[in-house]
């Protein structure tokens, strides 16, 4: 998994490519931890192949964090990923554009 981070003022964009699973989730978690006090976090899911519960845990943590300091948006979510979000109820608690 690779993450491309783009900072534009208070807006941080993380473009994720690959799989978000048990092995790679800590990497994403570290990126989220490092976003500091930005008010807008954009996660670009265009390149994500799939996401497992470990990934979902990081997303939940990030959502909670951003609920406090701004907002978090997921962009370009594919059908497969959307299906997972639907199954797990994440579709309702995440902001998906």
């Amino acid at each position: 998994m690779t993450i491309n981070k783009t900072i534009n003022g208070n807006e941080t964009t993380l473009a994720i490519e690959g799989r978000i699973d048990t092995t790679t989730a800590p990497q994403l978690e570290a990126e989220i931890d490092a976003i500091g006090d930005c008010t807008s976090l954009i996660l670009d899911f265009a390149g994500v192949e799939y996401i497992s519960s470990a990934g979902l845990r990081v997303l939940l943590k990030a959502q909670k964090l951003m609920n406090n300091q701004g907002k978090m948006v997921l962009k370009n979510v594919g059908e497969d990923i959307m299906e997972v979000f639907d199954i797990t109820g994440f579709a309702d608690l995440l902001t998906i554009e």
Partner: protein
């Protein structure tokens, strides 16, 4: 010594011929231009002719040469120009050689002879032997003939000096003709032997020219011998008659002279006696003076040197004789005979003289008589040999001495009684010598030719008896027969030249008129039989050949019509046969529309003819497919029929469930049993187990197929190959194995693909094929086969297709299999497990979305095991069938049933949500079935996903 020098001289041209022949075969000399070679060879043989002139061999006063052989050999064996050059050089040298001591007598003849030898060699080489080397007998024949012409030239250049010319020819002809003939013959033999043609010529059938020339040669030789023999017999007979005539004429002439002299002598004496008788009137005899008259007559005997004188009265009765006992002899009492002749004097005759001979009165006494008329009766006077010999000796000598018979012949006269030589040229016959043969002469018939011999050689003799003499003529046999011999030599030589010329002319004419035309027709015919039916035979030299040409042409035209009709019919039948053949091969694609784990496509593009290629594929078990590619030797209906047999046989055997190598082994045995036509078939047969992907194949002499493994390139699958099927009984084929994986592609073909030829006769080749297959990632076998076919067609362009283009591709998409990975469960081994399962899913063509979902499931389950189960090992087993994939997770950790865990409340907000429990929930949601059991101390979780 002479023989030795002659042989050396004859062998010299042979040696030169051998050396030059060897040089023309090897060495730099053979690279010279034709003209240069001819000049060099001509000059060398010319020099050889000059040497022959210079080193002539003295023989019985003349000089022998072997000069003609050199230019003749040059012309016959090495080429017309060389012969002419050698002849001219040799001839010119001979002409001028008289200035340094070579004999000038035959200058012109020898010069011309040498030039003619060169020309003859050149002409024979060019017109008679077609520039090929002549056989030895022709060498002998031509060599001898040219020398004969040379001899004839000696005669013709000395037409006024036959004697000497004849001597030259008589001495030189035999050695020179044989030496030259043998020299040319040996040259021919040696050169043929060096060329290795001596034995070769005996092989095969005789050519017409050979048969013909041998027959013609025999005819010519027989004709030659016959005419020569006739000439000889005729000339001999003429010559003998001539000799006889000449001798007879001479002998009788002398005889006549002698007789005349003798007659004249006696008649003169008788006339004198008559005058005395008349003067003394002695004829008037009365009994009284009878004795007195007798005495007077006796006196006259003395006086005239005669033996008797008789006076006869008008009644023919001797009135008085010098011998008393003759008195009263009546001449009329004798009817005929010596004395009766005298009665003529009683009538009108005035004088009679008789030849010397025996008397009627007493046969032991020989006398010569004459009678002269008296007024009444006649007087008869006789004398014997001794008397007249003395009287006419002078005349006799003169008559003989002045005579010559020819140049050396002569006449001699002997005394018949004593053998004394009366007359003979000096140094010829003497009385002593005559004593040796006088009795032979006496006992031989007069006026016949007798054979005799003296110091100088043989003689012909003829003799006659006359007046007590033997008159004989002699002539030497050589001289007698000189003109005959000259005639025979010239005649025979002339005939040699005439017959040889005749032979050569007839030979050349026949060759030109018949043989060459036959060759031309043969050439056209061999073109026709070679398949070019448009060739026309066109020999119009004479009516026979013109009509033969027309006949052949019309036959060929008719044949062409028939062939084209037959071709049309055959084309239709072949088309039909091709259809049958095609229909025997599986040709509906997709062949197995319900099978997703593989795809197969095959095509066969037949050439114009029915070929022997075939492919085949069929199931030989529930999950095993057989693929086959084969090529029967040869083309046409037999190959097609053999193909059907082979195809059926292999299929029958394969369907019995035999292993692949056994199928080929048994098929080979059966095909060998029934293979009368000696055909064979190359076969590649593979069995693919679709559950494992294992390919087992056996090859019977077929070209190896191409295999592409996964993302790799097509490469040749070169396994062990056996002999072609039906090639030999008892061949055992071996199996090869290779594991195929989904994504692998197997491409089979026959050599019709790689050996397709374009108009520049280039082959399509393996490299083009491999490059084409690797150039793109063709999605299906059909796409790939069609691309190859198109490429081959583009390559060959307008060129005819000679062979079937047959190919088959098998692509493996999936295999139904069970695979397992066992790892030590910790987070770092998760990617390996994921990767393993993902690979299998990829190979079994599971779609990407499902793969992603399964990956999530693996991640969830395996991370649970890794984090919570405390297991020592964990395994994942992947399995699939037509409808589902199955994942079985097994670990030896503490018992944990994920299904018992409560599902999380997924409706809570982010702040309220607990993390955890979500994984198992997702697994349950994603998979279609989840089954847990704990057995043998292991957690076994079985997941099923529909595909």
């Amino acid at each position: 010594m002479t023989i030795f020098r002659l042989v050396t001289s004859a062998l010299f041209p042979v040696a030169i011929a051998a050396v030059i022949y060897l040089l023309t075969k090897d060495s730099k000399f053979k690279d010279f231009s034709y003209a240069k070679k001819q000049i060099i060879i001509g000059v060398v043989f010319g020099i050889s002719a000059c040497l022959a002139t210079q080193f002539g061999i003295p023989y019985e006063g003349f000089v022998l040469n072997v000069r003609g052989a050199s230019p003749l050999a040059a012309g016959l064996l090495f080429g017309a120009p060389a012969g002419v050059i050698a002849g001219v050089i040799g001839g010119i040298y001979r002409w001028f050689s008289v200035y340094w001591g070579v004999g000038s007598y035959t200058q012109l003849a020898c010069s011309l002879g040498t030039i003619i030898a060169g020309l003859a060699g050149a002409a024979c080489h060019k017109y008679m032997f077609d520039k090929k080397k002549p056989g030895w007998f022709y060498g002998l024949f031509i060599g001898a003939s040219v020398e004969v012409a040379h001899m004839l030239l000696v005669f013709t250049t000395h037409i006024n000096d036959m004697q000497n010319a004849f001597e030259v020819v008589r001495i030189c002809a035999v050695p020179m003709i044989s030496a030259n003939g043998l020299s040319v013959m040996l040259s021919c033999i040696v050169v043929s032997a060096l060329a290795g043609e001596i034995n070769r010529k005996k092989l095969g059938k005789k050519q017409i020219t050979q048969t013909f020339s041998v027959s013609l040669l025999i005819c010519v030789i027989i004709a030659y011998i016959a005419t020569s023999a006739f000439t000889f017999v005729l000339q001999n007979s003429i010559s003998k008659t001539d000799v006889e005539e000449t001798l007879r004429k001479n002998v009788t002439d002398v005889e006549k002279d002698v007789l005349e002299a003798s007659d004249h002598n006696l008649l003169q004496i008788t006339r004198n006696i008559r005058d005395d008788v008349i003067k003394d009137e002695l004829y008037k005899v009365t009994p009284s003076d009878k004795e007195q008259i007798r005495a007077q007559l006796t006196d006259m005997l003395e006086k005239y040197n005669v033996t008797d004188i008789n006076i006869v009265d008008e009644n023919g009765i001797i009135t008085v004789s010098s011998y008393a006992e003759f008195d009263d002899f009546d001449f009329t009492s004798q009817k005929d005979g010596q004395s009766a002749e005298f009665t003529a004097l009683l009538k009108d005759d005035e004088e009679i003289v008789q030849q010397y001979g025996p008397l009627d009165y007493d046969k032991t006494i020989e006398r010569k008589y004459a009678g002269v008329k008296l007024p009444n009766g006649f007087v008869q006077v006789g004398y014997d040999f001794d008397h007249f010999k003395t009287s006419i000796e002078q005349e006799v000598r003169l008559a003989a001495n002045n005579r010559h018979i020819g140049d050396t012949g002569y006449i001699f006269i002997l005394d018949q009684r004593t053998g004394e030589v009366i007359s003979a040229p000096e140094g010829t016959v003497t009385s002593e010598k005559a004593a040796g043969f006088i009795d032979t002469l006496k006992s031989s018939k007069a006026l016949t030719v007798l054979n005799a011999e003296n110091e100088e050689g043989k003689l012909y003799c003829m003799h006659n008896f006359c007046e007590g003499y033997i008159i004989a003529g002699c002539i030497s046999v050589n001289e007698a027969h000189f003109s005959r011999n000259v005639s025979i030599y010239i005649g025979i030589f002339m005939q040699v030249v005439v017959f040889v010329t005749l032979f050569v002319l007839i030979y050349i004419l026949i060759k030109k008129i018949i043989i060459d035309n036959i060759h031309e027709i043969n050439n056209s015919l061999s073109q026709i039989t070679g398949g070019n039916l448009d060739t026309k035979v066109n020999v119009r030299d004479n009516e026979e050949f013109a009509s033969l040409s027309d006949d052949i042409n019309s036959t060929v035209d008719t044949l062409k019509d028939y062939i084209s009709q037959a071709e049309k019919r055959m084309d239709e039948e072949l088309k039909f046969a091709k259809n049958i053949q095609h229909s025997a091969l599986p040709s509906v694609f997709p062949a197995y529309p319900n099978r997703r784990e593989f795809d197969i496509y095959a095509s066969m593009n037949t050439a114009k003819e029915v070929g022997g290629d075939f492919y085949d594929f069929y199931f030989v078990g529930k999950n095993t497919i057989a693929v086959l590619m084969a090529d029967v030797s040869g083309k046409g209906i037999p190959a097609a029929m053999f193909m059907m047999t082979a195809k059926t046989m292999i299929k029958n055997l394969a369907e019995t469930g035999l292993p692949v190598q056994e199928v080929l082994t048994q098929a080979n045995e059966k095909l060998c049993e029934t293979n009368e036509a000696g055909m064979f078939v190359t076969t590649w047969l593979g069995f693919i187990d679709l559950t494992t992907g294992k390919l087992t194949y056996a090859n019977a002499g077929h070209n190896p197929p191409l295999l592409k493994r996964g993302k790799g390139k097509f490469e040749y699958l070169k396994g062990r190959s056996g002999l072609v099927l039906a090639g030999m009984e008892g061949v055992v084929y071996r199996a090869n194995e290779v594991d195929l994986w989904p994504g692998d592609k197997l491409y089979l073909y026959t050599d019709g693909v790689t050996e397709a030829t374009n108009s520049e006769t280039q082959l399509y080749g393996e490299d083009r094929l491999v490059d084409l297959l690797n150039s793109q990632d063709y999605k299906t076998p059909e796409e790939s086969c069609k691309a190859v076919l198109q490429s081959v067609m583009d390559f060959t362009g307008e060129a005819d297709q000679f062979d079937d283009i047959t190919m088959l591709q098998f692509d493996l998409y999936e295999i139904k299999t069970t695979e397992e990975i066992v790892v030590i469960p910790d987070t770092s081994s998760i990617p390996r497990v994921t990767e393993f399962v993902e690979k299998w899913m990829g190979r079994s063509r599971v779609d990407q979305r499902t793969i992603n979902k399964v990956n999530v499931v693996i991640d969830e389950i395996y991370s649970n095991i890794a984090y919570y189960s405390k297991a020592g090992w964990a395994s994942v087993k992947y399995n699939r069938d037509d409808d589902n994939i199955y994942l079985t997770f097994t670990d030896d950790g503490s018992p944990y049933n994920p299904l018992e865990k409560e599902d999380p409340d997924i409706t809570l907000s982010a702040e309220e949500r607990e993390i955890g429990g979500l994984g198992v929930f997702m697994v349950k949601k994603i998979m279609d079935n989840v089954d847990y059991k704990y057995e043998d101390g292991k957690n076994v979780l079985k997941l099923t996903k529909k595909i």
